[in-house]
């Protein structure tokens, strides 16, 4: 029925387009029109289609809400909201013919009949109202084809509104992120104290299902998770910074144009490899390598999920970010500075160390911060290579856990949305979002400011 309705109003719109366009093009043979014929056609199609579609959308939304509320009344004896949801879904599924599973409950069959009657009436009413509206608007739009009528202006106004809405959409995404994280985080803080979360030293979110079990409370002190994240990010930066920066220096100052044109894209391939591949690489190659190294130096205290493994593989992934951002910073330094130094008899390395790097220091710091934010937010490598147990330690050979590992661990598999265990993932994500946001804002501001300095 809905599909038929959609086809009906779209064909009406197409008909309106053709009708108005041909009418306008006949008119334009003898007159100088304000708008070209196809704008008149588009105007008719727009008027016919868009209000009807919008109405259809809101209609379905409201009817869905009403159905859900009325269906719930049939299962008013049940207190568990999750179960009611399951039952009402079952009713809808049965009534639509998607399943033939009958739930053993007194309210089930009456609910099915109620739903079918409601849907039947709704479909008929919806069809009549929307097709009438569409038809009326179609008829209405036909009257507008005139020499003076500014169809183009209206259409263009709509296009600009759509463009503005698209741009504003990005803001809504951010607001969506903040609100969805904030709501769940606040719900989490209903059951766990903020200070216990931010400054507590013990993290074990696994909660017992029954209240009388031992250790049912769970413990949500996130400090070990934060330190684990910092430790792994630190190891990653220790790997990535020297390699990335020296490659950038070499490629921007020393390498010939030929070498640069090959080496740069090759290094950037490292950034294009999906992180899940790095995770697999860490498990299958790097972990055994570190284990053998440990055995070789008769060092046996090494955990198989040690921070060193995850951190160093993460570091490899970060190299191209550091390299390309540093490269941008170095090449942005005006040639005159470099050439002046060289003309004074300094060697290229002295020029680089004493002139170019100080002159591009802001940019390098910015790139460093962006890379840190990448390292903190990266998920798959640490999920696969680091452990889930959050130990409060700074020993790189121990197993530590990160914010992202905890989020994945807490939210995959079965979840109930009322337990602090799942909600704690949102609190962690909120912290993660906040920290990466701050790092990004700082680094973007630094980079921007410094770029302006030389322009």
């Amino acid at each position: 029925m809905t599909v038929f309705l959609l086809i009906l109003i779209s064909s009406l719109a197409v008909y309106g387009f053709i009708l108005n366009k041909s009418k306008a093009s006949v008119m334009s043979d003898t007159n100088i029109m304000h708008s070209q014929p196809h704008y008149h056609g588009l105007y008719s199609a727009f008027i016919t289609l868009v209000p009807a579609i919008l109405l259809l959308f809101f209609w379905s939304f409201i009817v869905n809400m009403i159905t859900n509320i009325t269906l719930k009344d049939f299962f008013s004896d049940i207190t568990d909201t999750g179960l009611i949801k399951f039952y009402t879904d079952g009713v809808i599924g049965y009534a639509e013919g998607a399943t033939d599973k009958i739930i053993n409950h007194a309210g089930f069959m009456p609910a099915v009949e109620h739903y079918q009657a409601l849907q039947h009436n709704n479909k008929i009413l919806q069809f009549i109202v929307i097709s009438t509206l569409s038809l009326m608007l179609f008829r209405y739009s036909l009257k507008f084809v005139e020499v003076e009528f500014k169809a183009r202006d209206y259409i263009e106004r709509v296009i600009v509104i759509v463009m503005r809405a698209s741009a504003v959409f990005a803001i809504f995404v951010t607001i969506g992120i903040v609100l969805s994280l904030l709501f769940e985080t606040l719900r989490f803080f209903d059951s766990v104290n903020v200070f216990d979360f931010l400054f507590g030293l013990h993290w074990s979110p696994q909660m017992a299902i029954r209240a009388d079990q031992v250790g049912s409370s769970g413990s949500f002190g996130a400090v070990p998770v934060f330190t684990g994240t910092l430790l792994i990010a630190f190891i990653a930066m220790t790997v990535a910074t020297p390699i990335g920066m020296f490659s950038a220096i070499y490629l921007s100052q020393y390498a010939s144009e030929n070498i640069r044109s090959y080496a740069k894209p090759i290094i950037e391939i490292l950034a294009g490899i999906p992180t899940v591949v790095y995770g697999f690489f860490a498990v299958i190659t790097v972990a055994p390598f570190f284990r053998d190294m440990g055995a070789f130096f008769s060092f046996t205290n090494m955990s198989s999920e040690s921070a060193l493994i995850a951190g160093s593989v993460l570091g490899i992934m970060i190299i191209p970010f550091v390299a390309s951002l540093t490269d941008d910073a170095l090449t942005a330094v005006p040639r005159s500075l470099k050439e002046g130094s060289l003309a004074m008899g300094a060697t290229l390395s002295e020029t680089t160390k004493k002139v170019i790097i100080p002159a591009s220091f802001h940019g390098i710091v910015g790139s460093f911060l962006l890379a840190v934010s990448r390292a903190i937010g990266e998920t798959m490598i640490v999920v696969m290579a680091a452990g889930f147990a959050a130990n409060l330690t700074f020993n790189p050979f121990d197993s530590v856990s990160t914010v992202t590992v905890q989020i994945v661990g807490l939210l995959t598999g079965d979840q109930e949305f009322d337990s602090p265990k799942t909600l704690s993932a949102f609190a962690l994500a909120f912290v993660l979002f906040f920290i990466t946001l701050v790092l990004n804002v700082i680094s973007l501001t630094i980079v921007k400011k410094y770029r302006e300095e030389y322009e």
Partner: protein, 405 residues
């Protein structure tokens, strides 16, 4: 500073540091790719066992149990298998998939007789041994015991074990049995997600880019949108997964594990990338062309759709392809919206439960079965193949369509 030779030495040293850093970075890439390829290449071959079948044409082929029938023929080849343990050891060399292959063979030859040796899928344990992944130690190898090894040696001496092309890898979905597991379901799931992500993010992103570059006047509001988009580009992908979980699953109650939701989530994630690339492309269109169009009486919107966008399209498409390539490899947001399930069916629509290629890699990498390791590498090779294809398209587009003004 006066010692020239010391300064030259330090110059040389500095240059060497740079060279070493570049070589190390490239070395990592080579090691990574070499590792993946060397472990993955063997997964494109699969071990098969030849079983001698003697089924006459008038045999009642409808009412047979393919499993017992196939086993009967296999056992007939080895009269020396007498005890229960020996028979079980022999039969365990065949995969569960062999019986499906057998019933397919029967269905194809309903009226005809089936004679001679036919190849059937071998178990993963045998496969691992034949490929040399599991080494032989005396009369055992990994999970293969003495009884099994006895028959393996017999089969090998008669040349009845062979490596053939792996037809399951690319044509079937996930399975508990490594030898029957494939990535077709994951590939289809990925393609659906990517298609939806593209359809949603591309128009919105291009419109937003046009608005920011050509229509918006420079004020606080457009600045806000701009910083906002730049920051969104750097938000960790897992946060987008949580957004998808909260908005699409909990609020709009869309089906869990569906490529539709995955696609929408990835769309939000790629949006900023495409906006930033599109803005750069639009900015590079020379203003003279637009001014000429306006001078001839075109309106702003006509200029944009008639001249700016077509001329900026190569750049926009390149940026889009790069964004899509990122989205294809993205795993974390898909884990959040439940696309991390054991799905044995190839999804038929974007609303069916499904995994995606990177998620399949994650799932297999997590599996304790040895045989899944090479399949993980093979799946990675396929994923990297897709990425290379996309990037080559992007490079081609840039080279072919880019105009120098």
């Amino acid at each position: 500073m006066n010692n020239i030779s010391a300064r030259n030495k330090s110059e040389k040293r500095f240059q060497m540091y740079g060279k070493t850093a570049v070589l190390i970075a490239i070395g990592f890439l080579v090691i990574l790719l070499f590792n993946i390829f060397s472990t993955g290449i063997s997964a494109f071959k699969q071990t098969y066992i030849a079983v001698n079948l003697e089924i006459p044409a008038d045999f009642d082929k409808k009412n047979i149990n393919p499993r017992t029938e196939l086993n009967k023929h296999f056992l007939k080849m080895f009269p020396e298998a007498t005890t229960r343990t020996e028979r079980r050891a022999l039969l365990s060399l065949l995969s569960k998939g062999a019986r499906y292959e057998f019933s397919e063979l029967i269905n194809q030859n309903k009226e005809r007789s089936i004679q001679g040796y036919h190849w059937f899928l071998a178990s993963a344990d045998l496969d691992m041994y034949i490929k040399g992944t599991v080494k032989r130690q005396g009369d055992t190898a990994g999970r293969i015991d003495e009884n099994q090894m006895f028959f393996i040696d017999k089969l090998l001496s008669k040349n009845l074990i062979e490596l053939q092309a792996n037809k399951y890898l690319l044509s079937s979905a996930d399975s508990r049995e490594p030898e029957m597991a494939g990535i077709r379901g994951a590939i289809i799931g990925s393609l659906y997600s990517i298609l939806i992500a593209f359809l949603v993010s591309f128009p919105i992103a291009v419109m937003a880019a046009v608005y920011l570059e050509k229509i918006a006047s420079k004020n606080k509001f457009s600045d806000l949108i701009e910083t906002n988009i730049n920051n969104l580009a750097a938000v960790p992908s897992i946060v987008f997964g949580l957004l998808g979980l909260a908005i699409f699953l909990n609020f709009f109650e869309l089906p869990r594990s569906a490529p539709l939701v995955g696609g929408l989530t990835l769309a939000l994630m790629t949006l900023p990338t495409i906006v930033i690339a599109s803005r750069a492309a639009i900015k590079s269109v020379p203003p003279s062309i637009e001014e000429a169009a306006i001078g001839l009486g075109a309106s702003k919107v006509q200029t944009i759709f008639g001249f700016t966008l077509p001329l900026a399209m190569p750049g926009i498409l390149t940026g889009t392809i790069i964004g899509i390539a990122q989205a294809i490899g993205e795993t974390a947001p898909l884990l959040m919206i439940g696309m991390v399930a054991f799905v044995v069916d190839v999804p038929g629509s974007p609303l069916d439960a499904s995994t995606a290629l990177p998620v399949q890699i994650y799932l297999w990498a997590d599996s304790p079965e040895r045989a899944f390791t090479e399949r993980t590498s093979a799946a990675i090779m396929v994923l990297l193949g897709f990425l290379i294809l996309l990037n080559l398209t992007a490079i081609y587009l840039r080279k072919k369509l880019e105009k120098k003004w």
